[in-house]
């Protein structure tokens, strides 16, 4: 038993070293640490919001027309909107919606893109060509544009917009996964598996996929902010979430009619968009610096 621990300890020692070094870099960069904490805060808000906000009904659509456009106060931290709803509660619940959108869209995009990419990269030949042609076709669009056009075609709704964004996003993962598959399939352990007679799908699933995850995970975390921003932009144009959903982009869009006189109706939701996207981007940027071997130990 002790032997096993000793051996395991020796084996993972270099990894612990690397981890220790990563913390060292983290410490050099307080911004990354702050973003990490902020994201944790956002996640907690997303999880707890519906149960802990002061006016949960505001998020669901209860209206108080006599209390419309009240400026921020102790009673309503972020003021009230055009229907008298508490902006603070709506914004916090909106966190849940936005994070949910981010996770779902990226998951969908990966679901489509990853397998396609790995198959294309590993199998090669005609299948590779076909998949890549299709991927390139999608890649030749600016993503937001594609999502817009698809949303209009599918009809404005939150679910449709999420699918539209996922469809605009998957090609990037396919390309990445394909590149990974191509470089990994040449590695000795894959050849060994092939020599033993392991079937194609098993190889792809158990060998290629796990080894190609790192850059894809990095890219996905980078994309998180972008997806949320795209979703908010779609909602701003009326294509995503529909009223009375407390989605941030939608709130800014509606608030636009009144914000010059009641600045709080649009400022806070948008501010939260900024904070969320910013912290995710800062974090992935910080992670990028930590993980990039060229910039370590410079």
């Amino acid at each position: 038993m002790i032997e096993w621990f000793k051996r395991y300890g020796r084996e993972i020692k270099p990894q612990i070293e690397e981890l220790h070094y990563s913390f060292f870099i983290f410490r050099k960069n307080p911004v990354t640490l702050v973003s990490l904490l902020t994201i944790l805060a956002l996640i907690s808000i997303a999880v707890l919001a519906p149960y802990t906000v002061p006016y949960p009904q505001s998020a669901l659509g209860e209206v108080h027309p006599y209390e419309a456009f009240e400026p921020p106060s102790m009673k309503h931290l972020f003021g009230t909107d055009e229907a008298g709803r508490d902006v603070f509660s709506r914004v916090l619940v909106g966190t849940r919606i936005s994070l949910y959108i981010g996770v779902l869209v990226i998951f969908l995009a990966l679901l489509i893109g990853l397998p396609l990419g790995i198959i294309a990269g590993y199998v090669g030949g005609k299948i590779d060509e076909t998949i890549m042609r299709i991927t390139d076709m999608f890649l030749s669009f600016p993503p937001l544009l594609l999502a817009l056009a698809l949303s209009v075609a599918m009809g404005p709704s939150l679910v449709n917009s999420m699918m539209a964004i996922a469809i605009a996003w998957w090609p990037w993962y396919t390309r990445l996964a394909r590149g990974q598959a191509i470089s990994i399939k040449e590695r000795p352990f894959v050849e060994a598996a092939r020599a033993v007679g392991v079937g194609k799908s098993k190889i792809m699933l158990r060998h290629i996929l796990p080894n190609s995850l790192t850059p894809i995970v990095v890219q996905a975390s980078l994309d998180f902010g972008g997806v949320i921003l795209t979703a908010a932009s779609l909602s701003f144009l009326g294509l995503g979430a529909q009223p009375p959903t407390p989605e941030w982009g939608l709130m800014v869009s509606i608030g636009r009619r009144y914000f010059l006189n009641s600045w709080w109706t649009a400022t806070f939701p948008g501010l939260f968009i900024l904070i969320t996207v910013l912290t995710f981007n800062l974090l992935s940027d910080g992670l990028g610096e930590v993980l990039n071997p060229k910039l370590r130990r410079a």
């Binding site: 050099k28 960069n29 911004v31 042609r133 390139d136 076709m137 999608f138 030749s140 669009f141 600016p142 937001l144 544009l145 594609l146 817009l148 056009a149 698809l150 209009v152 075609a153 599918m154 009809g155 404005p156 902010g225 921003l229 908010a232 932009s233 701003f236 144009l237 009326g238 294509l239 982009g249 800014v252 869009s253 636009r256 914000f259 010059l260 600045w263 649009a266 400022t267 939701p269 948008g270 501010l271 968009i273 900024l274 996207v277 910013l278 981007n281 800062l282 940027d285 060229k294 910039l295 410079a298």
Partner: protein
Amino acid sequence: MKLRDYVIRRLILSIVVLLGVSAVTFAIARIVPSNPARLWLGPHPTREQIARVEEEFGLNQPLHIQYIRYMSNLLTGNLGVSLRTHRPVLEDIKAFLPASLELICLGMIIGLIGGLILGVISSTRRDQSIDHFGRIFSITGVSLPSFWMGMMAQLVFFKWLGLLPVGGRIDDIVSLTHPIQWITGSYLLDSLLTGNWVAFTSVAYHIILPALVLAAYPFGLVARMTRSSMVEILQEDYIKTARAYGLRERTITYIYALKNSLGPTITVSALTFAYALVETFLIETVFNWQGLGWYSALSIMSLDYPSVMGITIVVASVYVFLNLIVDVTLAYLDPRIRLGR
């Protein structure tokens, strides 16, 4: 391969890609919607209108025939008729394009130059406070919801400080008293070219906010890219050699190192131009800047289907064209490609 061969190859590739673009838009236009004819006609189509559209688009015919019809329409410039303006979509696009180009170009120039400078400075003062500050600043630029930023700018500069106008391209009164002669379609350029200073000032006041908001994303992206590529380059052997020859740091940074990092920066610029093309949908709406973006946003919000599809294919084609130009420029700049291997 020689530059000329490379250009020809890329050109052919672009045409193939354009075909792909048209295929995808075709799919979105005809295949995705459950009832394309209805969408094409708007909220209350009459039965005969539906029949006519089905006839015209051959919606009962097999897909490849539809596609050929679609392509021939495209190539003759028939992008459909807008449901909202009742004009051919292509006409609408042509009318509103110059205003957007004006805004985008100004925004891009500000963003690129600013970003380049910040990127270079950050790379030379790595890990110092200006680097950290620059990092936060650039990433903020990339993370900004542009529509919200525009609104906040209006709040601060129009509502609270009263310094700048809230929107539009030019002061209404000025457009009547000092109308701008149409030469290029760009208010800034045209008023400048005709010496119309009153109008020029008015346009300048109106363009500054939307241009700055537009510049935020390219600024941030270029700053980050430039910084990271400069940091890598500054560690290269030939930089160490240059120092060993006694070259001044400033010379090394701005001449020796920078020329090597231009490649990635140019690629990024093209990407951001495409990004800007779509971002103007949001920014022009907020600032009431009557350009293509404003028009597109209106089309989207009113579900003007033909218009949206027409714009999609035009913008996508511009994107493809841009990528072509970028690739060719990169090939030209890199002597390793230019002079052949």
